[in-house]
């Protein structure tokens, strides 16, 4: 007989047992399938006198309780009533199983014997002396529980010691005694071994609540947790010692929700949902919040999370049916939240924001019904407060107009124009107006410029720039534009030879408004454009101006890396020397490191600037090349971050490289840098610079000699001697070598 057939037959047996009230059949079913028996008994009790079934009910409830299905046992017991002591006792025990002590106390309240036996374990009544004729093996355990509940741990230990030897293993007495050790205020060294034993016992492993409590107990006593302990123990110990709310939330999200008490389970699932939904698979994020909601999490917070998760679940660039459906669901979630937020002081702004989000998602989904509902909510808020702004009203109008775009473009255009008339700053209204004209097949060029002038929006600016460039015109640079937009414009001007250096006031003020790092990135971008157009002299001039202006180490690194990538190492050295007097000491290392792709340029920059470094800084720079840092094109990556989303320096260098530009291959930059880092600056050069610094000599005096092999060999020899022991002969030799270099070394009185 197949499994399916067996299941059907059992269902039929249960149904027959329930309808006939056959006690033997119900009892047999209870032995086999307590949960099915419970359901059958509930049906039976609804139609037949309950009394005849009490023994079966208490037996089935007991079985369910022992299987851990205390909630099902309580449902059955609620129908049967508390007519017998067994039923009352089972109800009290099942209630204790789900942590509902109030129900446990209520169940035994009128029963003197149960009050005496079970009451103390749920904080009710006093524990009497143990009976000399007691036969229940678990009675000491029950009494021990009562002792711990009343705060007398030592008495609990005595009770447990009274368990018969034959029953000790079955009743996990050793484990309970270990837990009682930890319940002592000062368990001393025994805590460590108790934690280790409990972490390995089957009684704790796999029981999320026990694992968490053991972790917290271990943290309380500062006891080490064995490496083999379950994850829950480790996490709970961390949770117990976590100090910040964020840290606690992150740990709580990793814990099994069943570890938390019932009242906190919803909050635990909510914390987990918020932390996990961004990484959840498509569609799974909202379900995390549904689970939290079902477990009793804060309703508004769970609905809010669900709406956010649904909003993030679709791709706003995709127009597929699924994405539109998900956008509609997101809109519905925001509408639900808006409704649940209700009305009242302070809530209106939130309701309006929720309505706005709903309208936005419904607009994407071309879901006119929900757009209209969102608008109705917004209008209701507007009627009782002054929160509705022209901006917002125009956005909502545009969402509504957008739903007509495909079927009635003329109507969409009219609504868009009305929205623009209401608020000329509204980007969304202009978007719709342009989209309607495109659908209607009408020209949009003039309107794009108008949209940019009205809104100042970057996207419109980029479109207007493209139009102007097609027509050979350029847009003015204005302060407050994004760095990428400024870089794009500067680059275009550089490429077309329209960029004057020294910069005009217009360019200078646009660069100044960007800040040091972004201005350097924009200049680097313009350099690449100029170089690509074959205008190396303009690239060099931009570089000189940028090096003179930058005061940030990121800016210096960006410029140095870009220059050597464009094979403008010599120009970089010239620019550095021209501004050497004003370049701050903290820029030396970024310039030297940034120029490593061109090792010679790097060395020359070092020698040009090392006179302003102390021996410690020079030494530090010596260590940097040999460090194990992962090599990367740091400056260019920083520039990309600063210029996104408008332009990318890496992308431009790639494009230039593909068009056979004259710069070094950016793909090779990392290996080259790595080589340069491995080699580092020659140690002898650094020793020479150190010697010059110590001797008070201007290292720049020797630069001409350093460019020749003979000069370098002299430097190497000087370095070797000054690194060695200080003797009169060595000093004489150094003096002679310096004389050959064209300088007289003073006597080495200073520290080397």
């Amino acid at each position: 007989v197949g499994k399916k057939r067996q299941r059907e037959r059992r269902k039929e047996q249960a149904r027959r047992a329930a309808t006939s009230g056959d006690r033997a059949a119900l009892a047999a079913l209870g032995e086999r399938q307590p949960s099915a028996a419970a359901r059958a008994l509930i049906d039976t009790l609804a139609t037949m006198p309950a009394l005849a079934f009490d023994p079966i009910v208490s037996d089935v409830a007991g079985r369910l309780r022992r299987e851990g299905a205390c909630a099902a046992a309580l449902s059955l017991l609620a129908v049967a009533g508390r007519k017998t002591r067994r039923l009352r006792a089972e109800e009290a025990l099942a209630a204790m199983g789900v942590g509902d002590e109030a129900r446990a106390r209520d169940a035994i309240a009128g029963d003197e014997i149960l009050l005496r036996k079970l009451g103390p374990a749920v904080g009710m009544g006093r524990l009497g002396r143990p009976s000399a004729t007691a036969t229940a093996p678990g009675a000491p355990l029950l009494r021990g529980l009562a002792q711990v509940t009343s705060g007398t741990v030592a008495a609990a230990v005595k009770e447990l010691d009274a368990v018969a030897l034959a029953d000790r293993s079955r009743l996990f007495v050793d484990e309970v005694l270990d837990s009682l050790t930890l319940a002592n205020k000062r368990p001393g060294p025994r805590a460590k071994s108790a934690v280790a034993r409990l972490a390995g016992t089957a009684l704790v492993r796999g029981d999320a609540r026990a694992e968490e409590l053991l972790g917290a107990a271990a943290a309380t006593h500062h006891a080490d947790i064995p490496k083999t302990a379950p994850g829950g123990v480790v996490l709970a110990a961390r949770l117990a010692t976590a100090t910040t709310s964020t840290e606690r939330a992150a740990i709580a999200a990793d814990l099994d929700p069943s570890a938390f008490p019932a009242a906190e389970r919803g909050a635990a699932l909510l914390a987990r949902a918020f932390l996990r939904f961004p990484r959840a698979e498509r569609g799974a994020g909202p379900r995390l919040f549904d689970a939290a909601l079902a477990a009793g999490a804060d309703r508004l917070e769970a609905l809010r999370g669900r709406a956010i998760a649904l909003s993030a679940s679709y791709d706003p660039m995709c127009r597929c049916e699924r994405c539109e459906g998900e956008a509609s669901s997101a809109a519905e979630a925001w509408l639900l939240l808006a409704r649940e937020l209700g009305e009242g002081p302070g809530v209106d702004a939130l309701v309006l924001s929720a309505a706005k989000a709903a309208s936005d998602h419904a607009g994407f989904a071309v879901d006119r019904a929900r757009v209209v509902r969102a608008r109705a909510i917004a209008d209701a808020v507007a009627a009782r407060s002054a929160l509705m702004t022209d901006d917002l009203a125009a956005e909502l109008d545009a969402d509504h107009g957008g739903t007509f775009l495909a079927a009635e473009p003329e109507r969409a255009r009219e609504l868009a124009e009305a929205a623009v008339a209401r608020c000329r700053r509204s980007t969304k209204a202009w978007d719709l107006r342009l989209a309607a004209l495109i659908v209607l097949g009408r020209p949009t060029d003039a309107l794009r410029r108008e949209a940019y002038a009205a809104t100042g929006d970057e996207q419109f600016a980029a479109e207007a720039r493209d139009l102007d460039r097609k027509e050979g015109r350029e847009l003015p640079l204005v302060a407050g534009q994004r760095p990428g937009a400024v870089a794009d414009q500067l680059g275009w001007r550089a490429k077309n030879g329209h960029l004057a250096v020294p910069f005009t006031d217009e360019v200078a003020s646009a660069l100044d408004s960007l800040g040091d790092r972004a201005a350097a990135a924009a200049c680097a971008y313009a350099m690449v454009r100029a170089s690509d157009a074959g205008n190396a002299s303009l690239a060099t001039t931009i570089l000189e101006r940028a090096i003179a202006a930058t005061r940030s180490s990121d800016g210096a690194r960006i410029l140095a890396e870009t220059a050597v990538t464009l094979q403008l190492g010599d120009a970089l050295v010239t620019a550095v020397r021209a501004s050497a007097a004003t370049i701050p000491a903290e820029l030396v290392a970024p310039l030297v490191e940034g120029a490593w792709l061109d090792r010679q340029a790097s060395q020359r920059i070092f020698l040009s600037l090392c006179d302003r470094l102390g021996a410690i800084e020079i030494g530090r720079l010596r260590r940097v090349p040999g460090s194990k840092r992962r090599p990367s094109v740091v400056g260019i990556a920083i520039a990309d971050e600063l210029l996104k989303p408008d332009v990318s320096l890496t992308g431009l260098l790639d494009a230039v490289d593909e068009s056979d530009g004259a710069h070094a291959d950016p793909d090779d930059v990392v290996p080259h840098l790595e080589d340069a880092r491995k080699a580092g600056l020659p140690p002898e050069l650094i020793s020479f610079a150190t010697a010059c610094t110590a001797l008070g000599l201007d290292v720049n005096r020797f630069l001409p000699q350093l460019s020749t092999p003979a000069g370098m060999s002299l430097v190497v020899e000087i370095a070797r001697i000054v690194e060695g022991p200080r003797t009169p002969a060595a000093e004489a030799r150094v003096n002679a070598l310096f004389a050959k270099l064209g300088a007289t070394a003073p006597s080495r009185k200073g520290k080397r």
Binding site: L51, D54, P55, G62, G68, C70, K83, T84, R85, R86, A89, L93, T133, A136, P137, G138, A139, L141, V148, E175, L180, L182, A183, L203, V204, A210, L213, A216, A217, A219, L239, A240, S245, R248, A249, L255, F260, E264, A267, A268, L270, A271, F274, D298, L300, E301, R304, P345, G346, V347, D348, A349, L352, S353, A354, K356, R384, S385, A386, T389
Partner: protein
């Protein structure tokens, strides 16, 4: 209601009280109230009062933006859940949890003596 929403409501209520405006007052009325409040708390004589007035005005001006920030925050506004008993009670809680767990696995007769479970109620006699 979420604690963040309550806090948001409270911040707005405090700002309105500082400027003496109602929720239905529009931006112009708020600006007028702000000017009056600044005249009452000039920065050169009552710097602290001026700061409070300025903060209240800015809060009311940007309440929609703040509302959006509250609604769209991708982190929970609630305190993380607690494991129940404070850590200092965890050791006792562990012992009681384990003992209850063991008791739940036992048949009734292993917990309470058979004699104690017998009773002589009219219902049981019928049975």
């Amino acid at each position: 209601m979420s604690a963040a929403i309550r806090a948001f409501q409270q911040r707005l209520a405090d700002a309105r009280a500082t400027l003496g405006v109602a929720e239905s007052d529009d931006a112009a009325a708020i600006r007028r109230a702000y000017r009056r409040a600044v005249a009452a708390h000039p920065p050169d004589r009552d710097a602290e009062g001026f700061r409070a007035v300025r903060a209240a005005y800015e809060r009311l001006e940007s309440q929609l933006k703040e509302a959006e920030d509250v609604l769209l925050a991708e982190t929970s506004h609630l305190e993380p859940p607690s494991l129940g008993p404070a850590p200092k009670h965890a050791p006792t809680a562990l012992a009681t949890h384990l003992m209850r767990k063991i008791l739940q696995r036992l048949p009734l007769e292993d917990i309470i003596d058979e004699n104690d479970l017998r009773e002589t109620t009219p219902e049981s006699r019928d049975e």
